[in-house]
C-alpha cells in the first residue's frame, strides 16, 4: 500500500497514471470512430452494430464502460492535481516569456481537456441516455438519431469544435504519453512525430466527417 501511495504522491507517478489512462482512452476513441463511420453504409448496418453492442456484447460493453470511467476519473484527477502543483511552482510570472518548443497541442492540453470533459458529459446525455433531445430521438435507432441531431447547425458546430480539441489533445498526448512511459527519441520538431500526427488527423477527420456529412445531406 505504501508503495502505491508514494507512487501516486509523486509528480512522475501521477504523470504515468495520466499517460496510461490516456492511452486506454485513445484505444477507445479509435474503436468509437470506426463504429461511427458505419453510418455511411446506411441505417441497417449502423443500427445492427448498435443492436450487437447492446445485445450479445452487452457484458463486454459494460466492462468497457467501467474501464473507461475509471480511466477518465484517473486522467482528470491526475491532471487536476498536477495543474495545481504546476501553477504553484511559478507564483511570479515572467514579464516577458517567449516559448520556443511548446506546440499548440501542448499549450492547449488543459483548456482542451476541460472542453473535452464537458463534451463527454453532453455527448453521453445526448446520444447514450437521450436526456438531451435537440431533435426527437428514439432509443435503438442510432442512425435516425444521428441524422436528426446533425441536421441542426448548432449541434454540428458543437461536435466539430470539440473534435478540433480532441485532435490537438491527441497530437500532444499520443506523443508525450509514450515518452512519459519511457520510450526515447522524443523529437522536439513538431512535424517529426509521424505517429501522433497521423493518429490525431485520422481521429479528428473520422469523427468530424459524420456530423458534417449529415449536415450537408451526404449520408445515404
Amino acid at each position: 500500500m505504501t508503495r502505491a501511495v508514494s507512487f501516486w504522491s509523486s509528480t512522475v507517478g501521477k504523470k504515468i497514471v495520466m499517460a496510461v489512462s490516456g492511452l486506454i482512452m485513445v484505444g477507445f476513441v479509435i474503436l468509437h470512430m470506426v463504429g461511427n463511420l458505419q453510418i455511411f453504409e446506411g441505417s441497417a448496418k449502423l443500427n445492427s452494430y448498435s443492436a450487437f453492442l447492446h445485445g450479445p456484447a452487452n457484458e463486454v460493453l459494460w466492462i468497457v464502460r467501467v474501464v473507461l470511467l475509471l480511466a477518465l476519473v484517473a486522467h482528470v484527477v491526475s491532471a487536476y492535481q498536477l495543474t495545481v502543483l504546476d501553477r504553484a511552482a511559478r507564483p511570479v510570472p515572467y514579464a516577458k516569456r517567449d516559448l520556443q518548443a511548446a506546440t499548440i497541442g501542448s499549450r492547449t492540453m488543459r483548456i482542451g481537456g476541460i472542453i473535452l470533459a464537458l463534451f463527454i458529459v453532453l455527448h453521453i446525455l445526448h446520444f447514450t441516455t437521450l436526456t438531451l433531445q435537440p431533435a426527437a430521438l428514439t432509443e435503438g435507432d442510432v442512425y435516425a438519431n444521428g441524422i436528426a441531431s446533425f441536421q441542426l447547425g448548432w449541434v454540428t458546430a458543437i461536435y466539430v469544435v470539440a473534435m478540433i480539441f480532441l485532435g490537438l489533445h491527441l497530437y500532444h498526448g499520443a506523443w508525450s504519453s509514450v515518452r512519459t512511459l519511457g520510450f526515447e527519441r522524443g523529437r522536439l520538431d513538431p512535424f517529426k512525430r509521424p505517429v501522433a500526427i497521423v493518429l490525431a488527423l485520422v481521429v479528428w477527420a473520422g469523427f468530424t466527417l459524420v456530423p458534417v456529412a449529415v449536415y450537408f445531406h451526404l449520408v445515404p
Binding site: 508503495r3 508514494s6 507512487f7 504522491s9 509523486s10 509528480t11 512522475v12 507517478g13 501521477k14 504523470k15 504515468i16 498536477l82 502543483l85 504546476d86 501553477r87 504553484a88 511552482a89 511559478r90 507564483p91 511570479v92 510570472p93 515572467y94 514579464a95 516577458k96 516569456r97 517567449d98 516559448l99 520556443q100 518548443a101 511548446a102 506546440t103 501542448s106 499549450r107 492540453m109 500532444h172 506523443w175 508525450s176 515518452r179 512519459t180 512511459l181 519511457g182 520510450f183 526515447e184 527519441r185 522524443g186 522536439l188
Partner: protein
C-alpha cells in the same frame, strides 16, 4: 550599440520588486552580455546608485551561475550557451531587452537577478551520488563500460545545474535536471547499487522542493546550455516505474557495505 534594458530590481528576499529601465550606451558588439551588465553597473556606481546584482563566476559556460531570463529566453536567444557565452552582436542596435531572474518558487530571489538554487543541492544530496569503495584508484578499464553507455552518461553529466530547465519550463518543473543526474549514474556500473533507491528519493526531493511536473513541452531542452535531451526524462520515468514495482528491500539493494 545603444540598448534599453528592462531589469528586475529587488532589494532583498522579502522586498517587493519591479522592472526598472536602464540605458546601456556605446556597448561593443563584441562584449559579452555580462560585460555589458558590468558597464551598466559601472555607470550606476558612478551615479551613486545600487548596481544590479547578478550571479556569475567562470564566464566560460561551465559553472552554471549566470542565470538570467533574457528577453523571454533562459540564457538568452542562442542555443547551447549560458548567459556568459552570449554576445551583444546577437542583439539589434537600439533593442529593448528584458532581464529577469529565474521565476520558480523553489528558487527564491535573493536580490535583483540572483536566486537561491540550493534546492538543486538538496536534490543531489537525496541520491545523486554513489557509495564508491575508497582506496587506491583501480586500473583503467578494470570496470568495463559500453561505449553507448559512457556516451549517454557523459551527455547527462554535462549538466551544470544552472536551473535554466526549471526557469524555462511552463510548469516550473526541474525534471530535466533531476533526470540528467539520475540517468548519468544509471548508465554506469558504479551507479547500479543505488539505482532504484536514487530515482525514488531524488524525484521525491524534486517534488518536496515545490517544482512542478513534466508535461513534455520540451522548453527545457532548448533552454539547456548543455543541450541535454528530454530523453533523459523518459529514462528517469522508466527507472521510476521499475522502482515502483520493487519491494523496499530490493530497492535498497546491495551497496558496498
Amino acid at each position: 550599440m545603444n540598448l534599453t534594458l528592462r531589469v528586475w530590481r529587488q532589494a532583498g528576499p522579502k522586498a517587493p520588486g519591479k522592472m526598472v529601465e536602464y540605458k546601456a550606451t556605446e556597448i561593443s558588439p563584441e562584449a559579452s552580455f555580462l560585460e555589458m551588465m558590468d558597464v551598466v553597473n559601472d555607470e550606476l556606481t558612478l551615479k551613486g546608485e545600487e548596481p544590479i546584482a547578478f550571479d556569475h563566476d567562470c564566464r566560460e559556460g561551465i559553472c552554471g551561475s549566470c542565470s538570467m531570463m533574457i528577453d523571454g529566453h533562459a540564457h538568452g536567444p542562442n542555443q547551447g550557451t549560458a548567459t556568459c557565452q552570449l554576445h551583444m552582436r546577437s542583439f539589434e542596435d537600439g533593442a529593448t531587452i528584458f532581464v529577469e531572474p529565474w521565476r520558480v518558487r523553489a528558487f527564491p530571489v535573493v536580490k535583483d537577478l540572483c536566486v537561491d538554487r540550493s534546492a538543486f543541492d538538496r536534490i543531489i544530496a537525496a541520491g545523486g551520488f554513489i557509495t564508491a569503495a575508497t582506496g587506491g584508484a583501480q586500473d583503467a578499464n578494470n570496470v568495463l563500460v559500453p561505449k553507448v553507455a559512457s556516451d549517454l552518461a557523459m551527455d547527462s553529466a554535462a549538466c551544470i545545474g544552472c536551473g535554466a530547465c526549471a526557469a524555462a519550463c511552463p510548469n516550473g518543473s526541474a525534471s530535466l535536471f533531476t533526470a540528467a543526474k539520475i540517468t548519468h549514474l544509471a548508465q554506469l556500473p558504479q551507479g547500479q547499487p543505488e539505482r532504484y533507491r536514487r530515482v525514488v528519493e531524488m524525484v521525491a526531493q524534486h517534488d518536496a522542493e515545490g517544482f512542478g511536473g513534466c508535461t513534455l513541452h520540451g522548453e527545457c531542452q532548448l533552454a539547456c546550455p548543455k543541450e541535454i535531451s528530454i530523453d533523459t526524462i523518459s529514462r528517469m520515468n522508466r527507472d521510476y516505474m521499475v522502482a515502483a514495482a520493487m519491494s523496499q528491500e530490493e530497492k535498497v539493494g546491495g551497496g558496498t557495505g
